[in-house]
Symmetry: C2
Subunit: 454 residues, 2 copies
Amino acid sequence: MNQTKVVLSEQEIPRQWYNIIADLPQPMPPVLHPGTKQPIGPDDLAPLFPMELIKQEVSADPWIEIPEPIVEIYRLWRPSPLYRAKRLEQALDTPAKIYYKYEGVSPAGSHKPNTAIAQAYYNKQAGVKRITTETGAGQWGSALSLACNFFGIECKVYMVKISYQQKPYRKSMIRAWGADIVASPSTDTNAGRKVLEQYPDSPGSLGIAISEAVEDAATRDDTKYSLGSVLNHVLMHQTVIGLEAKQQMEIAGDYPDVVIGCVGGGSNFAGLVFPFLKDKFAGQPLRAVAVEPTSCPTLTRGPYAYDFGDEAQMTPLVAMYTLGHNFVPPPIHAGGLRYHGMAPLISHLVRLKIIEAVAYQQLEIFKSGVSFARAEGIIPAPESNHAVHAAIVEALKAKESGQSKTILFNLSGHGHFDMASYDAYFEGRLVDHALPESDIQNALDLIKNYPPVE
Amino acid sequence: MNQTKVVLSEQEIPRQWYNIIADLPQPMPPVLHPGTKQPIGPDDLAPLFPMELIKQEVSADPWIEIPEPIVEIYRLWRPSPLYRAKRLEQALDTPAKIYYKYEGVSPAGSHKPNTAIAQAYYNKQAGVKRITTETGAGQWGSALSLACNFFGIECKVYMVKISYQQKPYRKSMIRAWGADIVASPSTDTNAGRKVLEQYPDSPGSLGIAISEAVEDAATRDDTKYSLGSVLNHVLMHQTVIGLEAKQQMEIAGDYPDVVIGCVGGGSNFAGLVFPFLKDKFAGQPLRAVAVEPTSCPTLTRGPYAYDFGDEAQMTPLVAMYTLGHNFVPPPIHAGGLRYHGMAPLISHLVRLKIIEAVAYQQLEIFKSGVSFARAEGIIPAPESNHAVHAAIVEALKAKESGQSKTILFNLSGHGHFDMASYDAYFEGRLVDHALPESDIQNALDLIKNYPPVE
């Protein structure tokens, strides 16, 4: 294409989400009750989620209508632009064509509001007055605050204490949208108090923050809980990204040979890639590459097994690639990718070899992120740098082989609230982390306690 | 209009800048040499600027062609969206229609790259290898770094030391785009060393930083100097904002009764408003409102007189509204508006009563900024909050009078790098500043030293 970017009109915002479950070549393993080890039903999830979201979680319909009040808010930043990275191609001197979908245009600066708005809407419909959640780096906490603000729902965010201290401006953003935020472990819950009694100086963890948010929601009638990734319905809400990108690639007169996204819980990857997988299921040749950090190599080194979604073992058991629910990843700057497990849907597709997985170190992904920023202007979030790097690797492979290739990746967010990590990179304070085999052995030992995946 | 926003295609990026000088009802007073007090010629500016920019500074042509390499970079974020602030209108329960043009979509997060790209281009054409500039809050320094990076020009930014310490992430951004940045006063220039000898702990000022950047450029053959506001050509480069907005208002089927922008040096205001003033000169009824901080009330309390553009008296004498070149504004958070003078073009138009001026305190503008963020999602820069507040004031006046009214304002940038100021607001640490009459008297005394404006 001759343009730098393809912009769509508001009329072209997708009106349905794509539910990949309807098109899976093999069904997913069931989710198990942690006590009975039997498949759970919708009622088991009712204390935490409104019924409409639970229905979406287990739906087999290929398309789910997006309610108008959600579209009305999507209009504030959607459709997001699709770019042809011409300056990056030039800098790399590659015959490959590189496209990226840019989700950093949302008010929260990432793809996260696509599901936050939907979740807040369904909670509002169900009469929910208050929502709790946890947040690590703050992308999800800020997105949910924005969403709850729009629907007049109270929001309480438990933010991992070390991030609360290191990323003070995500906290300010959450406050600007009127949400309540507390550093976790906090004195507001039993779970938090218990940790503080034993470790008064605890820096917190995502596992502890989840326990606090879940306890808060489970013990109050007016309150539900919300998760920013991993679950089927969350991934489905993100498919507006890929559905728009397909329209935009068509306008550009092109179709990707490879689609790329970074993965932590998996939602931005799924959002871009699932709508393209629909074509792959129908015979379209297409590679889908999930990029994770070497220091949290769930898909590339973890076993596929039943495990808990949280450290405190409060969630159901799900079949997924996992490093064990007690795995604590090294303190890399891509905080959004530091999750021990992976979305069951993505795990399933990797196991079926429909999705490839690859892992990169943080020094190389930051190097690529800076190259991208200097070529394209936009400074990516550290998480997105993983996708940037994988796209550059593909483009350089194309250069080596002399073959043109069309690459599409998801630039899931900007790095305006992550500049401290760029400082660390420029000042040589950033290091790579080698993960010892004993960490993987821990996962293998742990999962022996749970039923094997059929 | 039924849409939330009007987006244009890349083909609709303006191909010419609008030069309001061609349409002025009265000519501007001449710029004077500080020594001879006689009108200066192009050659007097040659040590600091490339000739093409000097030509633009004094041009009387109504339209100046935008070179293709500049448009090519504008495509990365232009055309910027025009929004109808429907949620804000609802929250205010006003019959007024509120529109805003959003310039925060640029990689640097403000309107500043519109001129930075142009200036870097013309310097590159003239064979300039290196550009120096000063920056206060960092918006301008980051925009020029981005622009120099695209054209392979070295860039050195002298950043006011107090800002360098308080806004570390603007510095990181400048570094990400490969520019050199130093806290001012620095040991790199005579001007800086002189200050440091006398005041080793000096927090710096814009005046000192300008002196350093100008000295650096004037003493090196390969180096020129660049300014982010005030000058005619800088304001002209910004007219792409208003030229796009006029197309977008037409698509929306509307025309503003009042156009609003915040003013420090005046460039974002001029960018939106000048193309609309062309219609006003032709008889279109239209109010244009320039909004400044009460603590730096150049247009509303300063005299119109010849004064220097910088504290160190290195610039020519220009006729403008001024608080005196040695005026030090209180430390408000809208750092971009803390300038003692005002663009000569805007000053001239205020004097001719073509533009109105109004001043607001920082507590009220932050209150409006938070209302805006909660209604529209986007968190504005503190500078932009002045325009937001003035738009809300106009909308509430319309509510009171029961008359509909179409309001358009420039949302010149986002507040992602200014969250500390929102923290101060939420925590009650933000205060209003009353400016004593003695400060105004100082300006009146000072300007007696210079020729009166004819």
